[in-house]
């Protein structure tokens, strides 16, 4: 973000700047399981989150502002999510969609499921449900937009640097390793 994360913008400018950002969230859907179907349902005509300015056509993580992790994250998959997240440019936001992504969901006692994506990447908004209704995703998006409207970018990025997620610091995280 260059100078944006150093300098606090004057309030009116920040308002317009954040207003612009919150309504142009290019979204990368990391569809893992059942919840991905409800994510697709939320993107089609009836629920249509494009009217909220969330555009699900990011070509890849490098073009995305918002990552929606929908579905069960397994230990084997975790490094891929981590890498995907790191490929996204700042400022980036994560919505965890569904119980599995929040905490492991019905597989809370499974040997192969990661108990929540927040063990691997930081999450901004949690949407509960198994699967959550598409309306719940819309609500999650509006909550996120509310957050974006009121945040200060330098603060966010400074906060980010402080509590970087350290999974894999002691053991190497590779795609093949698990």
């Amino acid at each position: 973000m260059g100078v944006m994360d150093q300098v606090e913008l004057p309030k009116p400018v920040r308002y317009v700047f954040n207003w612009g950002r919150k309504f142009s969230l290019w979204c990368f859907n990391f569809g893992l399981a059942c919840c991905a179907i409800e994510f697709i349902a939320a993107s089609t005509s009836r629920h249509d989150f494009i009217r909220l300015g969330v555009i699900p056509f990011a070509h890849g993580p490098r073009q995305a502002d918002l990552l929606v992790v929908s579905g069960t994250l397994t230990d084997k998959m975790a490094p891929a999510v981590k890498r995907l997240y790191e490929e996204m440019p700042e400022p980036k936001y994560v919505i965890s969609f569904g119980s599995c992504a929040n905490c492991g969901g019905p597989y809370w006692d499974s040997y192969s499921v990661t108990k929540g994506v927040d063990q691997v990447i930081p999450v901004d908004v949690y949407v509960p449900g198994c699967p959550p209704r598409p309306e719940a995703l819309l609500d999650g998006i509006i909550t996120l937009q509310h957050m974006i409207q009121h945040e200060s970018l330098p603060d966010r990025i400074a906060g980010r640097r402080q509590d970087a997620v350290t999974l894999g610091a002691d053991a190497p995280l590779t795609l093949e390793g698990r």
Partner: protein, 393 residues
């Protein structure tokens, strides 16, 4: 068993009506090195987290190796820690597009072990919801397969229908994907008031709209160019891999558990099965569309038959299956689903073994992809219908 060495060499690079085969040509000095291309685990064309490693010689695939396990959630082990009534809330999630059929399989196998009689009405309602679930599942694949080949519109059409059907099923079950409507010995609740009228209306509406899909997708020249003759699966190879469902029916094998080994009341309704001729991507897709049509045909018959009566039986406080084992197979939307349940007389199953259709279907992918061009691989991957959770369990 088939003889894999005698398979015909196919040239999927040709459009229908043409017989120019795309060959990699080069003069004597021209040499290409093999390239390894890993598609997935996060790639849109593999819907879900399926990973496939391709060995490429130029544009042509010399070998394909699916890498599975990214969605392994340990259903079989977890089922040993849930009691007989709870496992259905777990297993309806392995094939997330056919939640009802999955839980139906478990309910049936537990009832088989308990030698329980299920009321007639419950059986008919189970059939009704299972067929609606099949329509839901197939619509999803109609949309996603077309999307992978570059057509966005069918997805929106499919979801228009899907949304209405989901609202209908939600009225009865409370769920949109995972219904958890079955119960050992019957159903959770009876159908709500007005459900049947809505179901009749929706069945009629969907049947009216179905020709759109036939015209829009099957009749589309680009679609035909990308699917006709691509990835033919001969019946004996399909059988040797254990492929079932629409993928097998497309190869011309009339295998459908609803017909060959009827469960519930399928022997009292007419269950047509559409068979393909060549087993190529086009046939596989056509089978899917016909299965929607025939499911709606079955739904119409169920509307006429639905008897009155209770929908569940009284269960003891604790359901304990006697020592022993049982196997039940049912026709899941994607193929044959089987549950092998073993009990040692305790509160929880001793072992649950699943035979899932997607797992067997993807076994045929290395065979199908060999010798194929990369763009055709998308057409094959999309038309060997699988759900990743159903592969990895």
């Amino acid at each position: 068993m088939s003889d894999l060495s005698t398979r015909e060499k196919i040239h999927p690079g040709t459009a229908p009506g043409e017989d120019i085969a795309l060959e990699i040509v080069g003069d004597g000095d021209f040499a290409t090195t093999d390239m390894t291309l890993s598609i997935g685990p996060a790639h849109p064309a593999t819907h879900g987290v399926f990973r496939i490693v391709l060995e490429l010689n130029g544009e042509r695939i010399t070998a394909a190796r699916p890498v599975i396990g990214y969605m392994h959630r340990g259903f079989e082990k977890l089922a040993e820690y849930r009691d007989f009534r709870q496992i259905k809330a777990l297993v309806n999630r392995h094939d997330w597009l056919s939640g009802f059929s999955n839980e139906l399989g478990v309910a049936l196998v537990v009832e088989k072990m308990l030698e329980m009689e299920v009321p007639d009405r419950a059986q008919w309602i189970r059939m009704l919801i299972a067929e609606w679930n099949r329509v839901l599942n197939h619509l999803m694949f109609v949309g996603s397969f077309a999307l992978e080949l570059g057509a966005i519109t069918p997805m929106f059409y499919a979801f228009r229908e899907r949304d209405e059907i989901q609202y209908l099923l939600e009225a009865a079950t409370g769920g949109r994907l995972h219904f958890t409507y079955n119960q050992v010995g019957g159903l959770k609740l009876d159908l709500p008031k007005g459900f049947l009228a809505e179901s009749v209306r929706l069945s009629k509406l969907t049947q009216e709209r179905l020709p759109d899909y036939f015209d829009l997708v099957l009749g589309n020249e680009i679609f035909q160019a990308r699917t006709v003759g691509v990835g033919p699966l001969p019946p004996e190879v399909a059988l040797s891999f254990g492929v079932t469902g629409p993928t097998l029916q497309a190869a011309g094998v009339p295998e459908d558990s609803r017909v060959t080994e009827p469960y519930l009341k399928y022997d009292e309704v007419d269950v047509p099965v559409h068979l393909g001729e060549n087993g190529d991507s086009f046939d596989r897709f056509a089978c899917l569309l016909y299965r929607i049509q025939y499911s709606l045909h079955i739904i119409d018959q169920i509307h006429d038959h639905l008897p009155a009566g209770p929908v569940n039986t009284k269960l003891p406080k604790m359901v304990k299956a006697p020592e022993g084992a049982a196997y039940q197979r049912i026709e899941n939307p994607l193929g044959q689903l089987g549950y092998w349940l073993e009990s040692d007389g305790g509160r929880t199953p001793w072992r649950l073994k699943m035979r899932t259709p997607s797992f067997s279907n993807v076994q045929s992918i290395p065979y199908l992809l060999e010798g194929m061009l990369v763009p055709d691989a998308i057409s094959v991957l999309g038309s060997v219908f699988f759900v990743v959770g159903d592969i990895d369990r």
